[in-house]
Amino acid sequence: MFDIIVIGARCAGATTAMLLARKGLKVLVVDRSTFPSDVISTHFLWPHGASYLNRWGLLDRVLEVTPSHTVVNLVNEGIPLEGTVPEELLRQYFQLFHGDDSGIVQRYCSVRRRVLDKLLVDAAVEAGAEVREGFAVDELLEEDGRVVGIRGRTRDGTRVEERARVILGADGRNSFVARTLRLPKFDERLKCTFAYWTYVSGIPLDTVHIHRRGRLGLGLVPTNFGQHMVLVFGPSEWGTTFRRDVPGNFQKALDFISPELGELVRGGQREERFYGTLDQAAFLRPLFGPGWVLAGDAACFRDQCTATGMSHAFRDAELVSTALEEGLSGRKPLEEALKSSYESRRRGQVASAYYDFVCTLAEMRPPRHDDLSLYVALRSNPQETNRFIATMCDVAPVADFFQASNIFLLTDVAKESSSQHPIFERFEATSRTYLQNPFA
């Protein structure tokens, strides 16, 4: 009998297991994968994500093998912005969610999941959690309407049953727990991006570059093994035509979005096949019920366009492990602990505003005149640029940036004008051409 069984041993699961084991609970964590192994993700970790790792004493291990930086480069329709997620806002974020801002760092990095997840699983073992890899759960044990355990099978086919006071589904977007319990999806947002990416060596570029043009975007990020993760994304309705010729359209998209970066990638050496998906509709699921809890993608999935899923999975891990410890130690009734220490922070105003923000971005509409004017205004305002970047990655509340007096003031004091940026010259006509699918 365990205090808790965690299903899924990656960003949400291994971390929660580690944190709970460190608190002295008896934890079993199982995953049908074996480690090290990859999972679909472009694995960019924003500074709050890196800060979590640092709070848990794991960041150094990641940074030993992974390049990291602080400056973020955004280019929208040729309008460049450069900034860093500010320490002050990171502090506010950690205070707001965890009442404790220790261990924050301003670095970001892109760490392959086969590197990161292995490290997380090892940390869970070190903390004293029992980890079983290659273990696929295929049944939930229920008694009196309460989930009380799992059944599953090991790689060699042996069937095993285990029981615990709580079962945590950290089992990803296609959550087995959620499917088995027939949990509803709320507020589903169908519009999303298609994303295709690969790994290229020999690209002489340091910091992260995120470019947008028309309905397409690219990401270029240094990652492990001396390679860059190169990503192209666009509206999912174009994905079906894009994938007819992935290598050709990939390069075509890069060249369209940024000829210079397209050239850099062409000059590099592709090291792996292309990966991709267009199955990224967003949804929320309920967070807990009798005997079960969800965390990470299982609880809330959003499009990749802001690259925040892993950082959020870490946030879930800290919140849910605090709540579970409170509940399982008997200091608070479990339900109450999950409500006040987990649900109230995950489903509050700030979270729902960000959900909207991501889902709107994921529609990949051509940048609006308003958006672009705002970027021009931001160029002369490093402080607000930093805040904008912090807003994009959910460190700062959306409502603080997108607030009338802020936006008015920002545009009032702008020092640069639209005349410096060619996109404004034939804006209407250009926007119209952006609506055509270039891969059709």
Partner: protein, 558 residues
């Protein structure tokens, strides 16, 4: 490390789907005994299994670890199974079993991944457009034709009107009491418990108020016929200034035609290009815009956060000891229903030679001892540098004022605030109504009205909170019911219209994006019972809106 020339997952999934389709078709009219006995069928079965197994093996580990609802382990095992099944009966039966029983589900899962339902499902495009956008999306339109470039915005308004999610420009068909009859801007009529009007004391229907209006109308006619600085004021204006002065313990009061004019005018009257304005980021728009019009040196501070005011004042004073600083805040905030610690704020201002301006539009009259508002509650009557307000909430009329203890300030602002100097004065009727209202506010009847008002406020808040809803701020005539998501709020608003509650939905630019709320404005005429009924109806409408959203925009309950 995976090789470069491997096919990408999408191609592989298509190939799996293709095999699955052929296998299902082939097996659909065959029995196991046929497969077992006819060598050709046996080979076909093994062939399908081999194909599936080999293709599954080629898919990336990335994909397999993500799509955990697909039984990849079983698919991978097919290849081995097929080899063995050449002579092993049990293995053959295993293959048969998998292809018969499991394959259709695998097929469906792979298909859903490859062609997710969102590529097929369509929602009402009008409704989607109406619900998805916010006003800030239209703030900076492009193009040199000022008129033509409003069209895009108008297209959005039209989509919202068509889907009845446009909460603006409603019309009253009768006086707005605790119940009101209204039409929405498509002309559809309804009637309901009215939290959509700002008349906190319900003075609009008060006989003495109506009589005051009638008398002034008979005496002076409807027109003031001039700016207050020329000949637009009457003896009612004069009496009103002194009555307000007594309420506020401030000797010098000047009137403006609206509260907006008072806020905007007070700031532009006093602040010059090189001066600074330090303003709460949620202060009313008339103050924000006044600040922007007066100077480029505007800093917004986090709502109610006085440490942040101190930091800003310190920073400004560190580099500028010569120019003025105006610190600006609301008393009772009109969409958050909270208020600052004015004692500390005024002290801070003194410490840094800054001047404090407080907008008491919502609290004066309705809160505090004798209707003295937030200032009275904090023991600050007569002690704040500048106080401005509006008559449009409690005092049953258009109009606003600025109060100061300095005659010089009053005279100066009169001549330098364009909204006072260059605008027609309050009408005699308005001045008479506000004078009468101020007297009621200060009288024992005023106490009674405040008590009634607060009974209704508590009933409304308690019922909403009891139902698990979030009412922001403090008990006050403004009850902000937090909705957050604009989509949910707009659908709720549409439902409420026909269910007998009139409530105003506020969203950007009144609230920040993602922070929509219903601003319920309570009146003394609301009975606690009405308030509770309304709360129940609102709560149900929110539940129904949620259900609607997950059926129209999602899969709903599984």
């Amino acid at each position: 490390m995976e090789a470069l020339n491997q096919r990408d997952d999408n191609e592989l999934i298509h190939s799996l789907l293709d095999t699955a389709e052929r296998a299902e078709k082939y097996l659909s009219n065959r029995s196991f005994s046929e497969v077992r006995t006819v060598p050709e069928s046996r080979e076909a079965l093994r062939g399908f299994a081999l194909e599936l197994g080999a293709t599954a093996e080629e898919t990336s580990e990335m994909l397999r670890n993500w799509t955990t609802h697909v039984p990849w382990d079983e698919l991978l095992a097919l290849r081995h199974g097929a080899e063995v099944a050449e002579r092993d009966e049990a293995a053959l039966h295993g293959l048969w079993d998998f292809l018969q029983r499991e394959l259709p589900a695998v097929h469906a899962a792979l298909e859903e991944m490859s062609e997710p339902p969102h590529l097929r499902r369509s929602v009402d495009p009008d409704e989607e457009y109406a619900l998805d956008k916010n006003l800030n999306d239209f703030y900076l339109p492009g193009g040199r034709d000022l008129l033509a470039r409003t069209e895009e915005f108008h297209g959005w308004v039209e989509a919202r009107r068509r889907t009845e999610t446009w909460q603006y420009s409603r019309l009253l068909d009768a006086a707005p009491g605790s119940v009101a009859s209204i039409r929405n801007d498509t002309g559809r009529a309804t009637r309901g418990i009215n939290f959509n009007s700002q008349d906190y004391f319900s003075l609009n229907a008060h006989p003495a108020i109506r009589e005051a209006a009638a008398q002034a109308l008979r005496e002076f006619g409807p027109h003031s016929a001039g700016s207050p600085i020329v000949l637009g004021n009457t003896r009612y204006s004069e009496a009103l200034e002194s009555e307000l002065g007594e309420l506020l313990h401030m000797e010098h009061v000047m009137l403006f035609p609206t509260g907006w004019a008072a806020g905007f005018g007070s700031i532009i009257g006093l602040v010059r290009q090189e001066d600074h304005v330090v303003i709460d980021k949620l202060a009313h728009a008339c103050l924000q815009q006044g600040a922007r019009a007066a100077t480029r040196n505007v800093v917004r501070f986090e709502h109610l956060r006085l440490e942040s005011v101190r930091q800003h004042l310190q920073a400004i004073r560190a580099r500028d000891s010569r120019n003025g600083i105006l610190v600006v805040t609301d008393g009772l905030f009109s969409v958050d229903a909270d208020w600052p610690d004015l004692v500390t704020l005024q002290a801070l201002c003194r410490e840094y030679d800054a001047t404090l301006l407080v907008d008491v539009a919502h609290d004066l009259g309705a809160l505090g001892p004798g209707g003295s508002g937030v200032l009275g509650m904090q023991g600050l009557l007569g002690q704040v540098d500048l106080v401005m307000g509006s008559f449009s909430k409690t005092f049953a009329s258009n109009g606003g004022f600025l109060a100061t203890r300095s005659e010089a300030v009053k005279q100066y602002v009169k001549l330098f605030a364009g909204t006072h100097l260059f605008s027609n004065a309050l009408s005699p009727t308005q001045a008479a109504v506000v004078l009468r209202a101020t007297r009621i506010v200060r009288s024992p009847e005023g106490e009674l009205l405040r008590r009634r008002l607060f009974r209704a406020i508590h009933a409304l808040r308690d019922e909403l909170i009891g139902r698990g809803r979030t009412c922001m701020g403090e008990p006050s005539p403004i009850v902000p019911l937090l909705m957050g998501n604009e989509k949910l709020a707009r659908i709720t608003n549409r439902l409420l219209f026909d269910r007998g509650v009139l409530a105003f939905l506020v969203e950007f630019p009144v609230t920040p994006v993602g922070s929509a709320r219903f601003r319920l404005q309570v009146q003394a005429a609301h009975t606690p019972e009405e308030a509770r009924t309304a709360a129940r109806i609102i709560d149900e409408a929110i539940n129904d809106a949620r259900a609607y959203m997950s059926s129209a925009f999602g899969t709903g309950l599984a």
